[in-house]
């Protein structure tokens, strides 16, 4: 993206200079050129040419290095995101057997990875919309609630009649079908969000 801005800037400067040169030639049509060349003229012209070549090489070199660094950075971020998908799958598997400790553990791995990713993006000064896209806190919190929350004893009897309840026995949590469907929906949401982040970063 930054390279695109640089190229656009150079094209704009070229366009302005070109326009200015045309105006200058138009204005000084009566200019006469001295056909004689002195050693000083040749030296001046050579130095100017050399300086122009040097500046071009330096700018091109800088842009190439910059471009390479950006590509590498993107590659690393995308690789990091790839590593989160299997963690989400582990969480899904742990939900099937219902072991509460295992569910909390697999979800923590997802949460920590997402949080670290968000911190890296923040440290790299990515624009606010990318930061918002990589903020998984609310979604993970909702998933944690659906996967591990059980009612307090004061409302337990009433809650058990609800379609969206969960109960725990010997550390194994059982969710009602409705609650399970809601949880599956949220897990799909986190997968889609991860995919969207990959696409957005890849497009940059």
């Amino acid at each position: 993206m930054r390279q695109g801005i640089f190229i656009s800037l150079f094209i704009l400067i070229g366009f302005v200079l070109g326009g200015f040169a045309v105006e200058l030639v138009e204005h000084y049509r009566s200019l006469t050129f001295d056909p004689k060349l002195s050693l000083g003229d040749v030296t001046n012209a050579s130095m100017t040419l050399l300086a122009a070549v040097l500046v071009t090489v330096l700018v091109a070199n800088y842009l190439e290095k910059h471009n390479q660094a950006e590509r590498k950075e993107k590659e690393l971020l995308l690789r990091r995101l790839d590593l989160i998908f299997p963690l989400v799958q582990d969480f899904e598997k742990s939900n099937e057997n219902g072991n509460l400790t295992e569910i909390a553990a697999t979800l923590k791995r997802v949460s920590v990875s997402c949080n670290l990713f968000n911190r890296v993006v923040k440290d790299l000064n990515y624009p606010p919309h990318i930061l918002a896209e990589t903020d998984f806190d609310n979604l993970i919190r909702e998933i944690r609630r659906l996967a591990t929350d059980t009612p307090i004893k004061e409302i337990e009897v009433h809650a058990k009649r609800s379609k969206c309840c969960a109960s725990v026995k010997d550390g194994i949590i059982t969710l009602t079908t409705d609650r399970k469907a809601l949880l599956d929906g949220k897990v799909d949401e986190i997968k889609s969000k991860l995919l969207k982040v990959q696409i957005v970063i890849n497009k940059m």
Binding site: I103, K169, G171
Partner: protein, 113 residues
């Protein structure tokens, strides 16, 4: 004073109530957190509860541990806030979550009066 859940209680925190399984929020609150909190109140010192280092927490464990202080043990919201400092570098979002559990328990307590 500091309680590190992973070393002082368990690396694998469990469900909400003791009857639901091992290492519950209720057990942690009654056997570890509440005695320390009372000590903190008596000596006018605040203490820290560190969440890092465990396998992970379920919502019920956290709610029962912290919200339970207000709901079950009748400790005031202000006292909990001024005496207990919760720390988590691994999952900083948990701090906001716990703050909400405390606020909800405080609100419920107010409406039940």
């Amino acid at each position: 004073m500091k309680i590190k859940i992973a070393t002082d209680f368990s690396t694998a925190p469990g469900p909400r109530y003791i009857r639901e399984g091992k290492f519950s929020g209720e057990e942690f609150r009654t056997k570890h957190l509440l005695p320390k909190l009372k000590e903190g109140i008596a000596t006018n010192f605040f203490f820290e509860v560190e969440l890092d280092g465990t396998a992970g927490f379920g919502t019920s464990f956290l709610e029962e541990t912290f919200g339970g202080l207000i709901r079950e043990d009748k400790i005031s919201f202000e006292t909990v806030n001024s005496t207990v400092k919760i720390i988590s570098f691994e999952e900083p979002a948990l701090l906001d979550e716990i703050r909400e559990y405390l606020q909800e328990a405080h609100k419920e307590k107010g409406t039940n009066k």
